[in-house]
């Protein structure tokens, strides 16, 4: 029965088009439009402006010397379009047969487009004159409020996390679908990397110079079916546009300064700190025997332990990067092409984190016969990096700290990176790991020599990462006639990554790893992995479009098939024996292998229709039906052909008010459009195998046997998350097009959230994925820009944007039970009625200055064995919400929210003749950041150097301070997850300032030269104490706003030249 419904529906979608056909309006006549077009800067008439009926190239004319034109257009035409090189495009409503225009220089942003659709989107373009390795920061700068972006870090090309229209998922991917030249990409957001803190940003495989535009699609996403719930980012690469051959050469270089770092204690202050830690932990009589505490200058070991090393100098550097590129465009009637080749070399301010990329792209359009055309695109890019772990470690005591950046901050400053010889002189040999606590102290706390990790870990077979992205696309299109065409878009994408990891023996302390064998100390780590992804996409599409009088209809229908195979193999082992043999070998200890074999198959049927009437009413409707191998067999959806289909309709409408007679020509209002839309979209980022029952192999009984056991019982009901979204927008140009304003509103409801649910205990398994939970988002974004000055040689544009979203969880699994997620010692609360990502911890209220104060409160904690331990003088006074004296989990409260109140950008462009200055500021207000790194740097619990703030730590009775006493491993939990580590992450940053000078040269060989200079991150206004409040931990929504001290972007200065041949 259902089978038939679907077939009928598909056919109806096509047949209904015929119903649109209607009788010819025999009264149809042409009318005459006249007008004058002036140059807004000079007020003088502009000749040669092409004027045409908007959206209809058939009626076109050109202005004369007086800037006047006369154009015959169909009666229903309500506006004309004006364009001329060097100026912005303009649309003008016809009022009483007249449509005048004032044209602005194209130094300003475009506020009109050639075509109007009912879909709301925002576009970033013009990515020239910069030295970025990936498009992310540029998109972030341009689309300040249209998309919330947070930087993943300062290592070259790590990019940003992106969120469009709030947060539409909890556990599944919440970032937009990326479509590059019509290819739906798997961005590998959740793939594990061997190097801690590193994220493989596939966008860094694209050369910025190859990108024409980046569009954020906020509604009208039916085509993308179960992938569109988080919005869509459409990236288009450059194609040839003219017959003339054009060659562009770009060369630029960038110098980046070490980012702001926390101020750490000096050698003597740290030495004092360590004695505070040892106090009460070891016999004072033995403390005197510790070599590093001997302050006799004649003492044999004195020099070894009396250095003043700024370890950050050893691991950070000012970095230089460079980009080279050549782009050739050209062609003729038969074929046109755009070929680009580029090479980039980037250093990071954290040593040994270098980037190099070679990229090549060919986009071609070939006309085979009059009716048959083929688009053929191919690209290749190869990224190579050296990498090291970065960021504060999750469990500093449970393993060895391997991040040079973190070691650079925390390593004891009284030690030297180089060893002392027996005569007491510094040698050129690198020092071994810390040993100043050895022998006497039973705790853990040895730190590696970061310089040794940098030097002995150097090499392709040690710490390297490679990533190759190869794409082929072939798109034959058969044009039956003016109205009907059939096309097939076939693409093959390959992504290969390989990564080697090596932690050297030399300079690294021996360590133990939980989960291996308690008794075994380990020397070093060797890891390697190789991943490959093959993505095949086929999109067969029938397109038809026609015009009936004032009605324009365009319909597309088709079938998309996608196949994605991702395979990963990884190995790791310990104790390579010596630093000469960094490879995986059979002699390693605790060898283990891992991997992934994730396959997805998807089929989607879709039908999309665009309709508009007389430049006033626009309608866009679409529906897609998607089936996926990831859906469970019993998912609730349309069951047809033995599979389950999710249906994703969308309908959008727009009304251009200024094209109505009653508003056309009204002074001050040049353009006004109202958009409304409703979309039902899905998120199919479902665990690959959760809907199926399967068995796993478990190695057991030494390594001599393996057992096969039930690994999962399938949730056959598993399905996509569904997001329904209402959107509305107002788009207007006012005051002779000097003021542009755009306001978008949205409200969305997401249901069937993918969440972990406890399985019935009879299954013998703990949990599985299910669809349970709901959330809502509501918000707006507003963009305002104004042409402040538009003079003959001087123009000044000023703009700003603001975005806001508020999201709220409305239902959760297991009867709305709140969910706590542990991330870097922090607790993230997911609770009904609250936004996602809340920080849930203890509230602190100063430090007990005296024992009397502490006793008066009588707060205590329970040890694991149930004994009470009371807080004392110098401990944090935690708020005891339940007034029982016991400070425990019941005393936690919401202490922060990583979601901003408002975010966006400010920008300005000043152009004087061929000189142009462009500046962008980005801001985010009201978001909290959990400064995890600071919780270690000011935690006072480990043998890690601390910030200078720790000089104020409580040491004596009656001392008034807000920093508690220090104590090894912090038994009282003074450094626990509390509001001490939650900071206001609001900031205003001058992200980019670009000054460019275009030399127009008219010679046979040279068309022009642009010389430009750019400065990034010149300053940031913030109260945040860490390096950068604009920091992301990972892709997960539940780890927003957590700063683990990953390298952040420093100030950088670039200089470049673009030569047009």
């Amino acid at each position: 029965m259902k089978k038939h419904i679907f077939s009928v529906m598909l056919l109806l979608a096509s047949v209904s088009l015929a119903a649109q056909e209607k009788a010819v309006d025999t009264t149809n006549r042409l009318k005459t439009v006249t007008g004058t077009v002036l140059d807004a800067a000079t007020g003088k008439p502009l000749a040669g402006v092409i004027v045409s009926a908007y959206g209809n190239q058939r009626q076109t004319t050109m202005t004369d010397e007086q800037g006047q034109y006369e154009l015959k257009v169909p009666q229903h035409t309500r506006s004309v379009m004006m364009r001329i090189d060097g100026y912005n495009l303009q649309q003008n409503a016809i009022a009483n047969g007249k449509a005048n225009g004032r044209m602005y220089s194209d130094a300003f942003r475009e506020n009109y487009s050639r075509q109007t659709t009912a879909v709301i989107s925002a576009e970033a373009n013009r990515f020239d004159n910069n030295s970025e390795f990936s498009i992310d920061p540029l998109v972030a700068q341009q689309l300040g409020a249209d998309m919330r972006t947070v930087s993943r870090g300062g290592i070259a090309g790590m990019g940003s996390t992106m969120l469009i229209e709030g947060i539409n998922s909890l556990n599944a991917n919440a970032q937009p679908l990326v479509v590059i030249d019509d290819v739906l990409m798997d961005m590998q957001y959740n793939r594990e990397m061997l190097h801690d803190g590193y994220f493989n940003n596939l966008l860094a495989n694209l050369n910025v110079n190859d990108i024409e535009s980046v569009q954020v699609l906020k509604n009208g996403t039916a085509l993308y079916g179960a992938k569109g719930a988080n919005g869509v980012l459409i990236i288009k690469t450059k194609r040839n546009k003219s017959m003339a051959t054009k060659i562009d050469v770009t060369i630029n270089g960038r110098y980046e300064l070490v980012p702001r770092l926390p101020e750490m204690m000096s050698a003597e202050d740290y030495r004092l700190y360590t004695t505070d830690l040892l106090m009460g932990r070891m016999n004072p009589s033995q403390m005197g025997q510790m070599k590093y505490l001997n302050s006799e200058p004649d003492y044999y070991y004195y020099r070894q332990y009396h250095n003043q090393t700024d370890w950050t100098d050893e691991v950070y550097q000012n970095a230089f990067s460079q980009n080279y590129g050549i782009n050739v465009q050209g062609g003729d009637d038969a074929a046109s092409y755009n070929l680009s080749v580029g090479y980039s070399l980037g250093n990071s301010t954290l040593k040994e984190n270098d980037f190099s990329r070679f990229n090549m792209r060919l986009n071609s359009d070939i006309t085979i016969t009059r009716k048959l055309g083929v688009r053929f695109d191919a690209s290749y890019s190869d990224v190579d990096r050296s990498l090291r772990d970065d960021g504060a470690p999750a469990q500093p005591l449970s393993t060895v700290i391997t991040s040079p950046g973190f070691l650079g901050l925390t390593k004891a400053p009284f030690l030297s990176p180089y060893a002392y010889d027996k005569h007491g002189n510094v040698s050129h040999y690198l020092a071994e790991a810390d040993d100043y606590l050895e022998g006497k102290f039973q705790g853990r706390g040895r730190l590696a020599n970061p310089v040794s990790i940098l030097e002995h870990g150097d090499g392709k077979n040690r710490n390297s990462f490679g990533n190759r992205l190869i794409t082929f696309a072939i798109t034959p299109t058969f044009q039956f006639n003016r109205h009907l065409s059939l096309s097939e878009h076939f693409t093959l994408g390959l992504v290969n990554t390989n990564e080697n990891y090596y932690l050297p023996i030399q300079g690294v302390p021996t360590f133990v790893v939980e989960g291996l064998d308690e008794g075994t100390t380990l020397q070093n780590i060797v890891r390697s992995q190789a991943g490959s992804e093959t993505a095949i996409q086929s999109d067969t599409r029938v397109s038809w479009q026609n015009t009936y009088h004032a009605h324009q209809i365009a319909v597309k229908a088709g079938l998309r098939y996608m196949s994605n195979d991702y395979k990963l193999t990884s190995q790791q082992g310990y104790n390579s024996g010596n630093d000469k043999t960094p490879n995986m070998s059979s002699s390693l200890r605790f060898k283990s292998t891992g991997g992934a074999d994730d396959k997805t198959r998807e089929i989607a049927w879709y039908a999309l229709a665009d309709y508009h009437y007389a430049d006033r009413y626009y309608l866009n409707a679409g529906i897609s039906a998607q089936a996926s191998s990831r859906f469970g067999d019993d998912a609730s959806g349309l069951k047809l052909f033995n599979v389950v289909w999710g249906l994703f309709p969308s309908i959008e409408a727009a009304w251009v008010l200024t094209n109505e007679h009653w508003l056309a020509g009204v002074k001050g209002i040049d353009y006004l459009r109202l958009n409304v839309g409703f979309d039902m979209t899905g998120n199919d980022d479902i665990d690959y195998t959760a809907s199926r029952s399967y068995f796993i192999a478990k190695r057991m009984l030494g390594e001599s046997a393996s057992g096969k056991l039930i690994g999962n019982i399938g949730n056959t009901d598993l399905q996509w998350e569904t997001t329904c979204r209402l959107t509305a927008g107002l788009n207007g140009n006012f005051l002779n097009n000097r003021l542009h304003m755009q306001l978008n509103l949205f409200k969305s409801w997401t249901s069937n959230l993918l969440s972990i649910r406890q399985l019935a205990w009879t299954s013998g398994l703990q949990e599985n994925w299910s669809n349970d939970g709901k959330l809502e988002n509501v918000g707006f974004d507003v963009n305002v820009s104004g042409k402040v000055l538009a003079l003959r040689h001087f123009s000044w544009e000023l703009g700003a944007s603001a975005g806001h979203y508020h999201n709220k969880v409305t239902a959760l699994p297991d009867g709305n039970r709140s969910i706590e997620t542990q991330v870097y010692d922090g607790t993230i609360l997911t609770q009904v009625g609250q936004p996602v990502g809340l920080f849930y911890g203890y509230k602190s209220n100063g430090v007990y200055a005296t024992s009397a104060e502490a006793q008066a409160d009588g707060h205590y904690i329970l040890k694991q064995n149930g004994d009470r331990v009371y807080f004392e003088a110098g401990d944090i006074r935690f708020t005891d919400f339940d007034h029982n004296g016991l400070i425990d989990e019941a005393d936690r409260t919401i202490i922060g929210n990583p979601n901003p109140d408002i975010f966006g950008n400010l920008f300005t462009t000043i152009t004087y003749k061929n000189l142009s200055l462009h500046a962008v500021m980005n801001y985010s207000l009201g978001n909290d950041v959990y400064n995890y790194q600071r919780s270690l740097l000011e935690g006072g619990s480990l043998f890690l150097n601390q910030t200078t703030a720790m000089q104020n730590r409580w040491t004596t009775e009656n001392q008034q301070t807000d920093i508690p006493r220090v104590s090894y491993t912090d038994p009282m939990g003074n450094a626990r997850f509390s509001d001490r580590w939650i900071e206001d992450g609001s900031y205003l940053r001058l992200s980019s300032v670009t000054l460019s000078w275009h030399l127009p040269i008219q010679s046979t060989y040279l068309q022009g030269i642009t010389i430009w200079g750019n400065a990034q991150n010149l300053f940031t206004v913030t109260r945040y104490l860490g390096s950068n409040p604009d920091c992301a931990l990972g892709s997960s929504i539940l780890s927003q706003g957590i700063d683990r001290g990953l390298l952040s972007a420093g100030r950088s200065f670039s200089l470049g030249v673009n030569v047009n041949l």
Binding site: L10, L11, S14, V24, R29, L30, R58, T60, Q442, F480, R482, H483, L486, G515, L516, D517, W544, A557, L559, D597, K599, R601, I603, S628, L640, F641, N642, V643, Y688, R692, S693, Y694, F695, I696, A697, K698, R699, M700, L701, G702, S704, A705, G707, K708, L709, I710, G711, I713, G714, N715, T716, D717, L759, W761, T762, S763, G764, N865, G866, D867
Partner: protein, 595 residues
């Protein structure tokens, strides 16, 4: 030029309405044609999809084996599956001991004990407890159920049903796990089919629950046809004889019958197992701890060790966390580097009392005479030497003065050397004998039961120590192969720690003060008293191995006397804990809550 063209076109548009109409017609034709093509395309795609949509969406994996691929028709599949079940049993292994000891009266939790263990000891199940995870038992059960439902039992090779041995072994695993889970939870759903979807699992959790007797009765019938099926032999794995991973079917049947109150059958199954034709279970007399001299009580000679082949069946554990599930028992019972010497259990006053109450007897032979001597109860070098010696043989506590006040380590070191980290016992020789004695006793064969404790059952001893009336009554319930289980290869279990019990005048079959009317009256008088002796002997022999709570519970249920359990447990620390006693007088509080 181009503009002109456009202008012409637009004027043509205006003037020639005929052309206009033609255009529309053409448009229509193109539409029709388009529709036709579209229709055809849709039809083809539609047809293609009907056939292959579900095929097109099919995926496989190299990392996991999807259910439809797990066919269980190859010998290696079968072995891997059995090992998989053992893998799940490793997870519950520690709980066999901890749940059985923490709740009983032979250990106290120390200050260092985890809150979870302390709550177990206090029967406080109000909070989540790592030892209360019923799903771990059902993980074993579900894997067993899957195997039993899917293994290709019809498959034959060389005239033998290929998987018959494994099939029986898995049935035994399942029954054993059910007995474990129902002992701890009181009532559980009896799920016998594999649950392979979430829906099935949720439905099963709501199924009606069965108590201990029902569960036992079901599995007695389930296992009986396989009682004599041979055990599969996977050879040696990681130095273990893999046969010892399997459950001795008849011993398990004995246990099930014992719990179900079917005593004669229990005795019969135990006897059948212990007196097996091929592999009889004997008791070596030298496995005992004793004083070797009637004059020197400095240090007993220790031949008592249960960690070797005394274990008939055990759950093998991993050596290293890296390899999988390791046992945490040594960290609970003993001082280790991992727990900084802070052990969590120590022998309770109750345990010490039971041990000290025993009277050590020695048969003292000189060249001419045989005397019976009783070991002194004062003046010994260690209090643990009073009475039974097994506790002293197993347990030691030493103090190390070297640790200063700043040390993270405890200055006391405790060692319970019957706890080993690589094997958690399921069946031990003496424990099977003791349960056999329990069954015999309940059959009215009090002399036979007493003989297990005092002399050791064998043909020769039976004739000497059991009167003919009982011999007749017992029949082959106490039959032992004369050639295999001999006097030299058996021992009264009490003698393993309390000297030569056969001569012990204080350790005898209880007799009524005055002769009772009938023989049956005497037996009825003796039966509970012998049972008490057996339960005590189980404590002496099986302390710290996790049997105690269940032994007390079994007898308490049998006698319908909660005090039998509540009294000793509420007095475990030497004084009476009245609130605990009150709690335990309600037998619902004995069991872990099943959420």
């Amino acid at each position: 030029m181009k503009n002109e063209e456009f202008a012409t076109a637009s004027s043509g548009y205006k003037n020639n309405s005929a052309m206009d109409i033609q255009l529309i017609i053409k448009g229509n034709r193109s539409l029709r044609m388009g529709m036709k093509l579209l229709g055809t395309a849709l039809f083809i795609l539609h047809a293609a999809c009907c056939v292959s949509c579900s095929n097109m969406l099919e995926t496989d994996s190299e990392l996991v084996e999807f259910e439809q691929d797990n066919t269980l028709n190859h010998p290696t599949d079968s072995v891997f599956s059995v090992l998989g079940i053992i893998n799940r049993m490793q997870i519950i292994a520690d709980r066999l001991v901890l749940l059985g000891e923490a709740r009983a009266d032979l250990v106290n939790t120390t200050e260092a004990a985890s809150a979870d263990l302390k709550r177990l000891a206090a029967f406080d199940f109000s909070q989540a407890n790592q030892y209360n995870k019923v799903s771990d038992y059902y993980a074993v059960i579900n894997n067993c159920n899957y195997y039993l439902a899917h293994v290709d039992t019809a498959m034959q090779r060389r005239g033998r049903h290929l998987f018959a041995y494994e099939y029986a072994a898995v049935k035994a695993f399942r029954a054993w796990t059910y007995l474990e889970v129902v002992k701890n939870y009181g009532e559980v759903p009896l799920v016998l089919e594999p649950l392979m979807t979430e829906r099935e699992a949720a439905a099963a959790a709501e199924a009606p629950r069965k108590g201990i007797t029902d569960i036992c009765n079901y599995f007695i019938s389930d296992l009986t046809p396989y009682a004599l099926t041979e055990q599969p032999d996977f050879g040696t794995i990681n130095g273990y004889d893999s046969k010892e991973f399997l459950i001795p079917m008849r011993a398990l049947l004995g246990d099930l019958c014992l719990w179900a109150g079917r005593y004669e059958e229990a005795a019969r199954w135990y006897n059948s197992y212990l007196n097996d034709k091929q592999r009889p279970v004997d008791l070596l007399p030298e496995r005992r701890v004793r004083w070797t001299s009637a004059t020197d009580y400095q240090r007993p000679s220790n031949g008592y060790n249960i960690t070797g082949d005394e274990m008939l069946s055990y759950i093998p554990m991993e050596d290293r966390v890296f390899d999988g599930v390791v046992s945490d028992l040594r960290n609970v019972f003993c001082s280790t580097n991992e727990n900084n010497y802070y052990y969590q259990f120590e022998p309770s006053k109750g345990m010490r009392r039971i041990s000290a109450e025993q009277i050590y007897c020695m048969e003292y032979k000189t060249e001419t005479t045989i005397d019976t001597i009783y070991a002194p109860r004062t003046g010994l070098t260690d209090d643990l030497y009073i009475g039974d010696l097994r506790l002293s043989s197993n347990y030691s506590l030493n103090s190390f003065g070297a640790q200063d006040a700043y040390s993270e380590y405890s200055s006391l070191r405790q060692e319970v050397n019957k706890i080993i980290s690589t094997r958690v016992p399921m069946y031990r020789r003496t424990m099977v004998y003791l349960r056999y004695a329990e069954a015999l006793n309940r059959c009215g064969l009090t002399q036979s039961a007493m003989a297990v404790l005092k002399y050791g059952l064998c043909a020769e001893n039976n004739k000497r120590y059991i009167d003919s009336l009982e011999l007749d009554k017992a029949g082959d319930l106490i039959a032992f192969d004369e050639n295999r289980v001999t006097k030299e290869r058996t021992i009264g279990i009490h003698s393993r720690g309390s000297g030569d019990s056969e001569c012990n005048a204080y350790y005898v079959l209880p007799q009524p003060a005055a002769k009772l009317a009938t023989r049956q009256d005497t037996i009825d008088y003796q039966m509970p008293l012998v049972e008490d002796m057996i339960v005590n002997e189980m404590a002496l022999e099986g302390a710290f191995e996790g049997y105690r709570f269940y032994d007390l519970m079994r007898v308490a249920l049998r006698r319908n006397d909660p005090a039998y359990l509540a009294d000793p447990i509420s007095r475990r620390s030497g004084h009476a804990d009245e609130s605990l006693r009150t709690l335990l007088m309600n037998k619902n509080n004995w069991f872990l809550p099943l959420k």
